[in-house]
């Protein structure tokens, strides 16, 4: 039922993220006082593992650490956002953090951390190229937050060959 509701809203509304979560998102916000919930953290770590595949450290422990540090930075990023953006992000994260919302919006049956990285990547690609604006919006939001949070820290610059700013 939720999937159908989402699809319908997606066809008619550009601001559907504000509506699509409905009661589910209101019951389980993705941010609490501007901080990611546990489900929200799992979402960004799972999505981050797929989006940043090839960029993250290869060693399993180092990779886990890099993803956890990125999730911490998503927290910081979220706290700096104005209230109306926090509210939208909370709805998106709440929705994608719930199993019904994850299935509806991303078409992913398993949890973000339980699914194989290839499954997560396929789900993200589905959103990225979707004919539904709401799914493309969600993909773009995740891509921007993950890339922004990851590369905001100096420890990530060497892998892309950026030496950092000149000391003055």
């Amino acid at each position: 039922m939720q999937r159908r509701t989402l699809l319908k809203l997606g066809l008619v509304s550009g601001t559907v993220l504000a509506l699509a979560g409905g009661a589910a998102a209101l019951l389980q916000p993705g941010l609490v006082q501007g901080r990611l919930t546990e489900a929200g953290r799992a979402l960004f770590m799972g999505v981050g593992r797929a989006i940043l595949q090839g960029t993250l450290p290869q060693d399993a422990a180092a990779q886990q650490q890099a993803l956890a540090a990125m999730a911490d930075r998503v927290d910081t990023l979220a706290q700096n956002l104005p209230p109306h953006v926090q509210a939208e992000l909370s709805q998106l994260v709440g929705l994608l953090g719930s199993s019904a919302g994850r299935l509806a919006l991303a078409g992913l049956a398993n949890g973000w951390l339980e699914a194989a990285p290839a499954e997560v990547a396929a789900a993200l690609d589905g959103m990225r190229y979707s004919r539904l604006q709401v799914r493309r919006q969600a993909y773009q939001a995740l891509h921007e937050i993950v890339g922004g949070a990851y590369f905001s820290d100096e420890s990530t610059w060497a892998v892309v060959g950026y030496p950092g700013p000149q000391d003055i």
């Binding site: 550009g14 209230p83 060959g161 700013p165």
Partner: protein, 539 residues
């Protein structure tokens, strides 16, 4: 942290009157000759001219006061502290990301220093379609000249960085003329960090020029203070109602409210925000113009991988451009565009480049060899590029509804083609149109065929903007605009608008100098009317 002198911290120590945020609570009431909303391009010029004329001025800025000691050349500092919505402001359908300043100095604190007078073709269009007969290049000449002198706007003497040189070499091979871009800098270190706040105070932004001049003359600056609404009665503004906000814009639990009364009010919060103040104030709008015709110069990009190192983070950004494609068709024909070479830093690169996983990782690893061109699409000159409309959310915050029409996206496709052709002519090994369906093409023929087939849809093609204009448009008839040619609101006699929201179309060039020059004239007129004597010019 910069070890260089910081003129803002020195000014604070000298006793500048700055309140709000960490600078101490603002008083509950204030009265002055002129209250100015905003502290960017239009506000700064206005504040300096008014204070030089001996008028008492209060400047209200929603963002924080940050200065060279704070500018560590790091995106993670700059975006949340200095930009609207952490540099992630979006149009209503999320299809366009808008870079706009939110700090003392406004967008001038974080812009890339490109300085162009308003193109004569644009002014001609304003005269013909909006009755702005006195907005000729000749009439504006002295006002541009004064602003240029005040802000050290001059040709850039250093060789262009590789990112800009590649624009030149590719264009020249195609017989396309390239021109140099004047910059508002003095003693520039050629670092390339302009977008994160100039750490050496070389950029002659409002933060280090007109705002300090106004503060030295006794102006009061209120920071982290939002102009909520103007109290209107009997066709006049009676007061400006303000409230203190937290760094992210949320109201503090014990939010300090300030009511400012003034003889005259100048709205200069920048496009999107200025119309929003008027919408919140329920300002008269008998012809439904307020917030409409808001323009963005929608930007599309191509990224090339070069044999040589480009290091797009280093050196003055945007020192060369080509206007060739603004002139290949009439101004009111298919969309023209201006091509420039932007600075590149890791956070913005990673969020802007399409794709994920190994493909994106491979692309990002080429960062030192990456060359990016951008095209600014000139919106507002054709009925199918009418811009967007500013609306209010239920919490009173503004949002811009900007539909990317098929006409605009057709211009975007031509821009992607033009940029890819220039990059291949300049020796690119591969070129990627910044589009979710874009591929790394290895020849111009391949790129041409590929780009011609791309679905040019919102949220597939990456579209950004750093130039927000319009929404309180100038017009010689009240039916056509919000503001009279002298900058005064058509229906509210003690209210002027002095910022980029004045422009009745987009400018067709980076807008900062258009704002400086045009507001310089408007503010001198305001001084004359308020004091009855001739104004001193910018010094």
């Amino acid at each position: 942290m910069s070890k260089l002198p910081d003129p803002i911290r020195e000014g604070l120590q000298r006793g500048w009157k700055v309140r709000g945020g960490p600078h101490g609570a603002a008083p509950e009431t204030l009265s002055c000759d002129v209250a100015i909303i905003g502290s960017g391009a239009g506000a700064g010029i206005t504040a300096e001219l008014l204070t030089r004329a001996g008028l008492s001025v209060v400047i209200v800025e929603e963002g924080p006061l940050k200065s060279s000691s704070d500018f560590r050349q790091r995106e993670s500092d700059a975006y949340p502290q200095l930009y609207q919505e952490s540099a992630g402001r979006k149009t209503e359908d999320k299809a366009i990301t808008i870079l706009q300043g939110r700090c003392v100095g406004g967008s001038t604190t974080v812009n890339w220093t490109s300085s162009f007078r308003t193109p004569p073709t644009t002014l001609g269009y304003w005269a013909q379609h909006f009755g702005l007969a006195d907005y000729t290049p000749e009439a504006l000449e002295p006002y541009f000249e004064q602003a240029e002198r005040r802000l050290s706007i001059s040709s850039w003497q250093m060789p262009p960085n590789e990112n800009n040189e590649l624009l030149r070499s590719g264009a020249v091979k195609l017989g396309i003329p390239v021109e140099s871009i004047r910059r508002n800098v003095r003693g520039c270190w050629n670092l390339g960090s302009c977008g994160m706040g100039c750490p050496t105070n070389a950029k002659q932004s409002m933060l280090v020029t007109t705002i300090p001049a106004a503060l030295d003359q006794g102006a009061t600056l209120m920071v982290q203070t939002r102009a909520e609404h103007l109290e209107m009665a009997a066709g006049k503004v009676q007061a400006l109602s303000c409230v203190g906000v937290l760094p992210n814009g949320a109201l503090a639990g014990d939010a300090q409210r300030t009511r400012i009364t003034a003889r005259h009010y100048v709205l200069a919060g920048g496009a999107i925000n200025s119309p929003a103040v008027l919408l919140r104030s329920k300002a008269p709008d008998p012809h439904g113009r307020l917030g409409g015709r808001t323009f963005l110069h929608p930007v599309v990009m191509t990224a090339a991988v070069m044999e040589q190192r480009v290091e797009g983070w280093a050196g003055a950004p945007q020192s060369l451009c080509t206007d060739h494609y603004l002139g290949t068709q009439p101004i009111d024909g298919p969309m023209g565009f201006k091509i420039e070479a932007p600075p590149l830093h890791p956070l913005i690169l990673a969020t802007t480049m399409p794709g994920m996983g190994q493909a994106q990782a491979d692309l990002l690893r080429q960062f030192p060899h990456t060359h990016v061109l951008l095209a600014l699409l000139r919106d507002g000159f054709h009925e199918q590029a009418p811009g967007g409309r500013v609306k209010l959310r239920s919490d009173g915050s503004p949002v811009l509804d900007y539909p990317l029409t098929g006409f605009v996206m057709e211009g975007a496709r031509r821009a992607l083609l033009a940029m890819a052709e220039i990059q291949f002519a300049g020796g690119a090994r591969q070129v990627l149109p910044v589009h979710e369906r874009g591929e790394l093409y290895t020849t111009w023929a391949q790129a041409k065929a590929g780009i011609e087939q791309l679905p040019m849809q919102p949220l597939l093609a990456k579209v950004v903007s750093a130039h927000v204009m319009g929404g309180c448009g100038l017009a010689a008839s009240e039916k056509q605009g919000v503001v009279r040619p002298d900058g005064v609101h058509w229906q509210v006699e003690n209210l002027s608008v002095h910022d980029g929201s004045l422009f009745p179309t987009s400018v067709g060039a980076n807008p900062q100098l258009s704002i400086y020059g045009i507001v310089n004239r408007l503010a001198q007129g305001l001084v004359q009317r308020l004091t009855g004597s001739a104004p001193q010019i910018l010094a």
